[in-house]
Amino acid sequence: MSKAVPQSVTQLIEAFSRLPGVGPKTASRLTYYLLRAPDEMTQTLAAALVDLKTKTRYCSVCFNITEDDPCPICADSGRDATQVVVVEEPLDVLAVERTGAYQGRYHVLHGAISPVEGIGPEDLKIRELVERVQKEGVLEVIVATNPGMEGDATAMYLQRQLAPTGVKTTRLARGLPTGGDLEYVDSITLLRALQGRHEI
């Protein structure tokens, strides 16, 4: 970058370009936008970024990202503690919540099994799920991992791990197109998949 651009500007452009989906052009546009924006706007943004890392943690029950432990969903006594939807990522919790049709709880694995990438069960919150099922009187585990090789392998592995506990284990109905991410499934398709889940 040219010497005419101050260090503090290039620094932010570079920081933005490291974000997913942001190219160098977008990074420059955002930076120059902020340069012209009111002070309070940049201060709010800076504070929000700091809070993001200092105030959030994993919920000790479901491992979703939360500010309070346990998270609002785990703490809500109105939600059915006998049903647990298992997802790969925190964003998938939001996708299921958007359907408005699910009243149970969640468990976030933080990934999916992929031997070729060196990601095994010990890298995911699987042991924690099995312990939770044993301790908390869970009656049904609904596996909502992404359709596809890694999500399918994770679902099959979970089924093997959960079988000795006697819990009913179901998988979202097919009809979810394979290869797509849950995050991008529209609510209606996801709702149908939730209603049409089958035992594995």
Partner: protein, 255 residues
């Protein structure tokens, strides 16, 4: 290689994929004519991505690839063979991970030829039949080692070069194959290799798959073959094999 065309059509096996940007995926694919390529599949994480389809791991896909300055772009993709049984059986699926992992490690980006591509596509197909996946893995390992120039010596002693007698031998990764008890004496390396294991390896190394697939080996012999082959491969690659760890875990938990 027709390197001046802006785009080209090719069959490809998806070796690896990772999320990239907003809704794209970065793919590593194996092609028969262009070796291993990295390409972006736009919008591949969205279920409605029609044109690029759902580029699923380990599937055989017909692709139209546009050359980019840094990365290629998948302009079109149509699955020719999804190898569905690999997605419905945890053990067979994990063996598929093992085959792909080996291919990925044994080949640099450009030097992979049609033979490796054909071998991988064949072996993924064998895993989808009722053949013993352990046999598929060992047969594939021997074939891949041969293509990479590391075929183990199984007929002559790898130290003294004399023909091996029909008796129990040793296998020494640093020497590149079987060694006889006499030459092994005094060496610190090599592990026991039973006569039956030696025979099975020779058979698989020289016969077509259709002949090898009906081999009926007992459990301990399968374990011995796995131990010998993985020790040799790990020695060559100087790396631990990741899929194998998961296979062993599944086996442990099975008991």
């Amino acid at each position: 290689m027709p390197s001046h065309e802006r785009s080209f059509r090719t069959p490809a096996v998806i070796l690896r994929r990772q999320d990239f940007g907003e809704a794209d995926r970065l793919l590593v694919v194996l092609t028969p004519g262009h070796g291993k390529l990295r390409a972006i599949a736009k919008g591949a994480r969205k279920p409605a991505a029609r044109k690029t389809g759902h580029v699923e791991l380990f599937a055989l896909v017909d692709m139209l690839i546009s050359r980019g300055r840094e990365l290629h772009i998948v302009a079109q993709a149509e699955t020719r063979e999804p190898f569905l049984p690999l997605r419905e059986d945890l053990v067979r699926g994990t063996y598929a991970n093992h085959l792909v992992e080996l291919l990925d490690r044994f080949t640099a980006d450009q030097d992979t030829g049609r033979a490796e591509f054909d071998l991988l596509v064949s072996a993924l197909g064998w895993l989808c039949t009722d053949a013993d996946p352990r046999l598929v893995a060992r047969y594939y390992e021997l074939a891949l080692l041969a293509l990479a120039g590391f075929a183990p010596s199984l007929h002559q002693c790898a130290v003294g070069q004399e023909s091996l007698e029909p008796q129990d031998q040793f296998f020494s990764p640093p020497d590149g194959g079987a060694i006889c008890p006499e030459h092994r004496a005094g060496l610190e390396r090599g592990t026991p290799l039973s006569l039956n294991a030696l025979k099975a390896l020779r058979y698989m190394q020289t016969r077509p798959w259709e002949a090898a697939r009906v081999l009926n080996l007992n459990g301990p012999l399968h374990l011995e073959l796995e131990r010998v082959m993985l020790a040799y491969i790990t020695y060559i690659l100087e790396q631990r094999l990741q899929s194998v760890e998961f296979l062993k875990r599944l086996r442990r938990e099975e008991r």
